[in-house]
Every structure is written in C-alpha cells, then in structure tokens.
Symmetry: C3
Subunit: 331 residues, 3 copies
C-alpha cells in the first residue's frame, strides 16, 4: 500500500450522545487517500451503492437525523460544498454552512484554525474543511475531538474527489482490476490525478500519463508508483494510448500554474477532446473530468454516452453520503 | 394571450425516484409570465391559498419532504432568496444556498452556467436561478433535466414577482376583472411593471400608466398590450387617474438607469406617495410596491390599511410554495 | 436591579398559527441584559440545562418543528451565527441565513433596516440580528411584530453572550452567589465585560477589575455597579487578586480601539495567561474568555482543566436553544 506513514487514520471513538456505534471508518478523520486499504474502499463503495439506491427510491431518509455537519470553507468551492450539503441533507441531517466571514489571523494562522475548529465542534458532529494551505486538514484533525473531513487543503489532498473518481470507474465497469486508465493534461500540478493514481496503485491497473513535457508527472510520484508495482507509460501523444484505454481522465491546465502566459498559451489547447478524438476510442471507454472544465472537453461530446463526467458528479454525492454515515457510525 | 412563442412551457416529466406524479405545471420550467393561461393562474392561486391556510395552521408541513432545492444566485437578492428558502423549508424540503463563489468564466459564460446547472441538478430536485443576464434562465432550462425557476434574469423577467403581485390583487379584492390598475414610476425600465401588465392583459382590467415623459412605457409593450385588447391610458399626472384607481402600483426610479445624475435628480421625487396623496384615493384602494423602496412611499403611509406592500411580501411566500409544489408534482 | 428603563421587555403575544402558548419570556424581544430579573435568569438556565440533557441524549429534537428563524447578519460573525444556527437546527426548526447582499442604504439606514425586518418577518417566526450600529436592535424591535434577538449591536449589547457567560459560572460551580469574579484586559471598550458585570450585580458577587490604566472601567459603569451594591476593586496588577479569584474572565485587547499603534503595543502583552500564571490560582478556579483569542491565553493552558472557554462555547448553544424555545412559547 502506498501509504504515507505520517497520516494515521485516527479514530475518534467518543460517544457523545450515549449511543453504541460501530463499523469501519467510525470516528475517522478523512484526510488523505493513503488512509484507505482495498477493504476500506470496498466497504465505502458498498455503502455508496446503497445510498444511490435509497436516493432513487425515496430522495432523502433519516439515517443521520440529529446530526449537524459544519461546512467550513476558507475558499469558495460551489461544487464541493453543494455536494456535501446535499449529502447530509439527503441523510436527514443538517448543516452549518460557513463560507463568509472566515478570516485569517495574520499572526498565528494555525492557532486560529485550531480555535475555530474547536469552537465549531461544540455545536456540530463533524466538520468538512476546505482550506488553501497544505497540511491544514491534518492540523485541524489534531485539534479536534470530532471527525474532520478534508475537502481540499491547497496543493495537498482532496481525498473525497479521488474516492468518487474511483467509485465512478467501479460503477461504470463493475470492476477496476484489469482496466487500462489514461490520464491527460496537467499531471505536474493536478492534485486530482495524483490522488487517483495512488488509489489505482492498490489495483491491477496499468496507467498511461499523457501531457506536454513541462507538465509531466512529478519524479517522486513516478518512483512511488513504480515501487508499488504499477506498470506506467508516459507520452506526449494521446493517440499512442487512446485506442486501448478503458478510462480517459482529462484534467484542466490551470493558467495560474504557469510562470508566463506564453508557456500557458503554448500548451493549453494541446489536448482538447472533441467528437473527432473519440472516434479512435473504444466504444465502451468512459471519459472523465473532475470539473469545472474550461474547454478541455468540447460540449459537443456531452451527448456521447461515453461522456461520464456528470454521472461522476452524481457519484460524488453518494460517496460523500457513505463517508458521512460511516464516520458517524451509522452505516 | 400575450405569449412569446419562443418560450415554451417545457415539461420535464422525468420520474427520478420512481414516483407517480401529476398535475398542472408538473415538471415545468418557470421562465416567463407568458407561459401562463388564466386557468394556470387560477390553479396556482388556489394552491397558494391552501398554502396560506396550512402555514397559518401548522407553520410547516412535509409536502416536499425529501426534496432539495438549489438556490443559485449570481447576484445577491436578500428578499427573493429568503422568500424561496422560507417556501421550501415550510414545505419540509431543504435548500442548497449558493450565493458565494459563483464566478463568471470570462471566456464562455453560457457554457459555464450550463455546466453549473448540470452539476447542481445531480444533487437537487429543482433549481432557482438569479442571474444578471437576460436569457440566462432559458439557457439554463435548455441545459437542465430538472425544473429551472427564473428568479430574475437581468432586464429580462422575474415571473414569480408578477405572480405574487397578481395574487395580491386577487386576495385583496376577491377578483381581478373589473378593477382599475394604475402603475407609477419607472415604466420604461421597470421589469416588474412590464410583467404584471402582461399578466393583467389576460383579464378585463383597464391600465393607467403614470410616469415622467422620459420613463414612459416602451413602445413595443404598448403595442403588445393594445393588440391584446387592453384599454390603456398614459399620463404624467397621477391625479388624473388616482381617484378612480383600485390598485396603485408604485415602483422605484433606479439611479443606475439614468444617463446622468441631473436627469435622475430631475424626476426622482416626482411621484412620492404621502398620506396627503392618499386623501384623494378610494377608501378601499390598495397601494402596492415590489420593494425595496427608497423614498417613493413615505413610511407615514405604512399604518394606512390601504398600504398592502408587506401583505404583498407575505403573499410571495405562498405563491412560491405553490409553484414549488406544483412543479415537483406534489400539489 | 440595574435596568435601563428605556429598554422595555416588550412581549409580542401574537398567535399567528392559532396556538395557545405561554410561559416566561414568551413573545419577548431579547435586546439587553437589563431586561432580566434573577427569576428570569433562573428560568432560562433551567431550560438551558434541559437542552444540554436532550442534546446529549438525542442530538436534535422537534420542539421547534415548524419554526423558521431568520439570521440577519450585517457583519460577519462565524461564532455567533453558527451557534444560533446550531440552536434552531437542534430544536428541529430551520434557518434563513442572510449574510450576503445585505447592504446599507446610504440615505436612510434606519428606514432600510426597518423595512428589511418587516419583510423578513413575513417569512419567519423570529429574527436574530447582528448590526454594527448601537441601538439598531431596539429600532428593529420597534418595527417588527415578531421577536428580535440582539446578537450584537456594535458598541451596544450582546446579551446572549452575557447570559452564556453567567450560565457557565453557574454550571461550573453549581451557584453564582459567594464567588469572586475577576475581569481582565480591555475593561473600557469590552462590551462583554460590561454586560456580564451588570448581570453579576444581581448576585452577591464581589468583582475585581484588572486592566492597564488607559483601559479601565468606564466611570459611569463604575457608578452604576456601586449604586447596585457591588463590592468592586480596581487594579492593574493581576497578582493582587488572582489567588482569591474563583473566576478569571479574560478579554481581548482590540487593536482597533487604540488611537495609535504605539499605545497598543505598549499594553497588548501585559496580561497574557500562561501555565505559569495559573500556578498562583485556586485549583478549582475557572478561566473564561469570550473568544476569539489572539494570544491573551497561551494554548499551553488549553489542557488545564481550569480552562473553561470551550465549555463556555458549548454552553452558548444551550442558552440560545433555551431563549429560542422560550421566546417562541415552547419551553
């Protein structure tokens, strides 16, 4: 397992309301993909499938009635916060949404985050945290008695995104082992790609990495994946690997990552997916994207059944419902 | 019926949760007043009256339990968003409020709105949209599988405002036909006035339009109303028509509409309603205003029983409850 | 009782939903600590204790099901708004959170606030108001038919903070009479300290005030307390009174209160509490702080059982639950 030994999956088995609770992930902080074993992933996805089934049947249900989730977003993220709010609401719980008025103390940022988290946990049962600084989620988890769910800590991790990506592959094919996954775009800075690659390393999945030279895989991640036994291939030409890919995972090339606008313009349109691109792909390939897109996938592709990115969005709600239910001991 | 043939009342009769649903307006996008026939209006107002009755009796009830409403506001509107949030909460449903972090992609605005809407509908059952650009609600409705409710698209329409205005007249008098309605203030740019006038054209209601010359009725709307058989009268002198009016609908003269501050100052105080003004009005006339007011109606008037503008606010909640219940097939 | 005769505890015994309601505080606006008698405080704290008991047992319950609380915050306050949202949600009610898009009319602020409040009360059952201007809560209460709860009106009052402070003392010791309370820090501008001192004047509690000379107690408050029979002592040396204190209430010295940065730097670190400070304190003393802190209490102190400030935060939720239940006639 490619696990960072520095991130322990700390269980917070306090029983504040006198209840007996149990089950995998109960009381965990969700900080990093490196916390999860294959057995954990199987368990999460089993619960996520049940969540989909229940939402399709009844819309919402009262599994987490009586639970309050604080959504503490130090930077806006409509998609992620909406997904978590929908998840807790569909489980019969409630939210304290905090996206306004969260300020950084210029003096002691860490201290202030710790105090904010310790204040919020007096009111709620778990905290979803989005923060622009790497390591902030771990710091919050250290301070808190109640579970912290990392919804993105800057250049660090966004583990629920990687989980929903993997769940989508599993849902679309009914399996993960034996598939060939190709990742395209910004592989140097793309947090999403890094986390998903680490999760896929737990499976028997060859990985292709397609990017312009200046946006290639970080050397340390390459070493990590190779050590984990991943068969990987790097190229700058999508067509070398497209025809044999089962999954094509496209990411956005973010302007703010570049040192100059010239470098950005040079590569930004290099890998735009159009209906023409898909002609060379397998008929049952799936096309994924973490969204938002800014032109990397033409909207003409949306009506192609292989376009899986909005199904991927919906899966995010089911995975987050599963995590909340499990962390709060109700799955 | 003065209906724009370009706005179809598209029904989205998907049954995502395996339920049988039915009824008028079920699955509709609510985009424009031109969607509604008199029979539709009668049906909406019947449901709105039931909603008032239920709120007065029990406060909230579980008609929309299990339903999640996304409130996507690209520009702030405390009144409108509060009204929709109250409406869904009083029906036992929940909201995903989105007023922060919604950004415009400078490149492809429409595309970005479409993607945002297609993302949100993965989590929720209907979307209320406020957006500064005309036509945005129609664009969103085109992209979405789930119902879109237009809560204002710039200089375009704000159909729920017009519906609550008409419902207020109907509630106050028990009828609409045969009343004389006078509209005052900014008739050139006042979206509210235009929409209400179009709805009133479905009834036997003579309309008076009172404004300074430079803020008169747009010629195309005048033609449209005349073609629909409306008896209309335009004047710059309120006293020509005040004594025979049953409804006086006052609107704000918005500074941002004027080319120069001189032009604004010239007319802004021309039509301020005071207790003195009301001396010439019928004892059972009602005074309406879409709010917020900035001096067009003196606060001294508030205690006059003819001041109907806060009753009008309350009616907004009942009308929006009715629309939500009908669109979601639960009325 | 040190009561300002200008603040009446106005009861708003309208029964909008046909219910019979009763009990102490029913229909009150909560504007100032000067509204409360000792019997009121006893009643509030009895209900707050029940609230803690229920939350510990079941998390949330449906005492205020059907009630909608508008949280109208003209300035952000994560802590206070989160506490009120948690309080109403744990009672089975719902919120309309308004923190965005609330704008000041530059012309007629009071009028605009009155109209906003009169609009919101058309949708909700009570309004929590935070506003930067002194007297704003009283103005809103004057305009509103439904109860207004003051969550801070600038340099004015923040009565629910003072109530939770007093409730914490009562919870920690099982009594208030006979304790010695020491207040430390900014006693000149500290709204929190002033309100708590006024409440403590209802009890048999000697008060020590420790501050730098330039941040001492306002002369008028000193006179008020002395007239009420309070035995008070003022000093700039904490060690004169620390050993005999049962409660040490620390406040933040706010930079924005000072005329110059030099004056601020001169006193800001004068009274920082560290583990060393506590060596001289009673073993069962409690250390309180309204939070947020910016260095006045070292984080090393957090693990000392005498550090009561996070228990104080939690008590805030129970006191606000009690107030909401009582004001809405459901306690």
């Amino acid at each position: 397992m490619i696990a960072s030994p520095t991130v322990a999956s700390r269980s917070k088995n306090h029983l504040p309301f006198g209840e007996v609770r149990h089950g995998r992930l109960y009381g965990w902080d969700i900080l990093s993909v490196s916390q999860f074993s294959r057995a954990d992933l199987d368990a999460i996805f089993d619960v996520a499938k049940e969540m989909r089934h229940m939402v399709e049947r009844v819309g919402t249900f009262d599994l987490l009635k009586g639970k309050l989730l604080a959504c503490l977003f130090y930077e806006p993220s409509t998609r992620t916060s909406s997904s978590f709010i929908a998840a807790i609401e569909r489980l019969g719980g409630s939210t304290i949404p905090i996206t306004q008025g969260v300020q950084f103390s210029s003096v002691s940022k860490g201290e202030s985050l710790a105090d904010t988290v310790r204040t919020l946990e007096c009111y709620c049962d778990a905290i979803v945290l989005r923060h622009p600084e790497i390591g902030s989620a771990a710091l919050a988890a250290e301070a808190a008695r109640k579970p912290i769910i990392n919804a993105g800590d800057g250049a660090g991790e966004h583990p629920t995104q990687a989980l929903l990506d993997l769940f989508t592959i599993e849902e679309e094919f009914g399996r993960v082992d034996g598939l060939m996954v190709t990742m395209l775009g910004d592989l140097k800075y793309g947090r999403t790609v890094h986390s998903l690659a680490r999760l896929l390393a737990l499976f028997d999945v060859p990985l292709n990495f397609v990017s312009p030279d200046i946006l290639g895989l970080p050397p340390m991640l390459r070493v990590e994946l190779v050590k984990a036994g991943v068969r990987l291939r790097e190229t700058s030409d999508l067509h070398e690997v497209l025809a044999e890919s089962d999954v094509l995972y496209v990411t956005r090339v973010q302007k703010e990552r570049f040192e100059s606008i010239e470098l950005y313009n040079q590569v930004k349109d290099a890998y735009v997916i159009t209906p023409k691109t898909l002609e060379a792909a397998k008929p049952d390939m799936i096309l994924m994207h973490p969204l938002p897109r800014v032109g990397e996938i033409s909207t003409e592709v949306d009506s192609d059944p292989r376009a899986a990115y909005f199904r991927q969005v919906e899966n995010g709600m089911y995975v987050r419902m599963a995590l909340l239910a499990m962390v709060l001991g109700k799955a």
